[in-house]
């Protein structure tokens, strides 16, 4: 709708005003020498200069453990659907792209009311990346800058923040901001310069092709030796799945309360790298080999999920899997580039 400007001090007051009005604000805060999304207590804890968070903000749109139903053991069940309004503050563009993909996946076909009702209560204040993380490759994945999908986008232009308010939801929050001034032409130019620099500069690993080529690349890669070579070192720990902003596979489990009479059916994060992900009754495992599970993750990112969401690649270049992988084999760019190289040779 419009781009406004707040000094850094005024921005802090804006955040504190939301907190004072009892708005639930989830922001980025320090956790030892790294960062995480957590419920914000005061604007002073907010770290919009963060590089990357340990877990993506998906934990607020698809929580690690989320009750779907409550029940009486052996009896009937009711839906659990009470989702509170929430503001997600400081979402980087790559994570925003991931959330938008999930919005599409949970609303297409069978409508997932749990996900969508929760999501509708969330207002997203995205923020342009101020500091690259050590493994970011968002520029390669074309997710370093976004032009839509947020309610508000903020950009640090040095002495102030610019606020691009894009939706009604975003506009409603602006009532908490005092001394809001329209951005000057020079400010907008600064913002453009930052975004243009990010568009190409957030690229610690360089993908050797356009992301749109990946589905085609994967067509001939199924029996490539790289899967076995990499997976030989895989611990099947599932860390790459857990930290991934686009991984959304889940398990459904029944948890019985201490009274042994009531309980909840919950969904919880699962991971296709975990050994028993594809095991059925009778202990038959359809993806028993580590290599087949390792390959499945890369195919989901580059081919299977894109086929469901109009071609968008389900890897947003955050680099979290590279950092989290104990065996140092998860880097998708290394694998895709190797496939590119050998495809060109062939």
């Amino acid at each position: 709708m419009s781009v406004s400007k707040l000094s850094k001090e005024q921005f802090g007051q804006f955040v504190d005003a939301m907190l004072a009005a009892d708005r639930k604000v989830i922001g980025v805060v320090a956790k030892d020498d790294r960062f995480q999304f957590d419920e914000l207590q005061s604007a002073s804890a907010l770290r919009l200069d963060y590089d990357v968070t340990i877990l993506p903000p998906k934990k607020y749109v698809l929580p690690q453990i989320e009750p779907l139903l409550q029940f009486e053991v052996g009896g009937g069940a009711q839906s659990v659907m009470n989702y509170e309004p929430m503001i997600l503050l400081g979402v980087h563009p790559y994570d925003l792209v991931a959330i938008r993909q999930m919005d599409e996946l949970f609303s297409q076909g069978e409508y997932d009311k749990h996900y969508m009702d929760r999501r509708k209560q969330i207002t997203i204040i995205a923020c342009d990346i101020a500091r690259p993380s050590k493994n970011i490759f968002a520029s390669s994945m074309e997710t370093a800058v976004v032009s839509d999908g947020y309610d508000i986008l903020i950009t640090d232009i040095g002495d102030a923040y610019l606020l691009d308010v894009a939706t009604e939801k975003g506009h409603a929050l602006m009532s908490y901001a005092k001394a809001l001034a329209p951005a000057a032409a020079a400010d907008i130019e600064k913002r453009q310069a930052i975004q243009e620099a990010n568009r190409t500069g957030l690229n610690k690993h360089k993908l050797a092709c356009k992301p749109s080529y990946l589905p085609k690349l994967m067509e001939k890669a199924y029996n490539h030796p790289v899967w076995l070579e990499k997976a030989r070192l895989c611990f099947s720990c599932g860390s790459c799945n857990q930290v991934c902003p686009t991984c959304y596979c889940f398990d459904v489990q029944d948890q019985v309360n201490w009274d042994l009479k009531t309980g909840q059916r919950v969904r919880c994060w699962d991971g296709c790298l975990l050994e028993n992900f594809a095991t059925v009754a009778g202990d038959h495992n359809f993806r028993k080999d580590r290599a087949s599970r390792f390959r499945h993750r890369l195919y989901r990112k580059a081919k299977y999920v894109p086929e469901k969401i109009g071609g968008q690649i389900a890897c947003v270049g955050c680099g979290r899997c590279i950092t989290a992988c104990v065996a140092d084999i998860a880097n998708p760019v290394t694998i895709y580039n190797r496939l590119m190289e050998e495809q060109n040779l062939g």
Partner: protein, 278 residues
Amino acid sequence: MCDCCSEQKDIYLPEMATITKRRMLNGTELFMHLEMDSGKELEHAPGQFVELSIAGLGEAPISISSSPTQKGIELVVRNVGSLTRAIHKLEVGQKIGVRGPFGSLYPIEQAKGKDLVFICGGIGLVPQRSFIRYVLDNRKDYGKVTVLVGTKCYDMRLFREELALWSERRDMTLMETIDEAHDCWNGNVGVVTTLIPKVESDLPKSVVLVCGPPVMYKFVLMALAEAEVPADSIYVNLERRMKCGVGKCGHCQINGLYVCQDGPVFRWSDLALVPEAI
């Protein structure tokens, strides 16, 4: 259902059904007939499955074994885990949670006028029975019907009374075999593929429907290829861990396909580029 209605529905909430009949088919397989407490029919098609649940123990995908031409639904549950063990303890009149029906259907329309050959291995007879019964209830719509049933051992044979009735029918051919010889068994001995050469229908012109344990498919498909059955006349009914049933949770994926939505019934020619299928 229109968009605004579908957005009101919780796809994970089971409806309650009442067990109206139950009996053991063998030492591990329980047969159940259910009626929905809503009084409505599930309106499934042959080949589809439901998610069956007991609150507190969880949910599992179970094939529907009855034809939509019958009232209520029939299911067969093997006692293999904590949920199915509890299901085995339920009595007539007790309740159970049902979600569904989910998944793709047998080629009810495409198979019309053609000879049908059902190849069933073990518990694979259970989902196949939904289409066999549908065909028998609409007998004039289809050509010759041949049902091949292979069971591991004599004691595990399913639907014995019904198989006896089928073997007496003149409008279908039933051939049965067991893997291991038994004193009480005078019939064929050997795996189900040994029955394929005995089929009297013109196999290359028939529609062949296959369901059985994972290990069976490779051998049956090899035998069918040898008998020159084209891949687009073969339908396989595949099993995976369909956890959510609605194409979200990812557990039942075969490469890019979701068994809960694209399957469980697949045309074999559609799986040519799907290496994880068998």
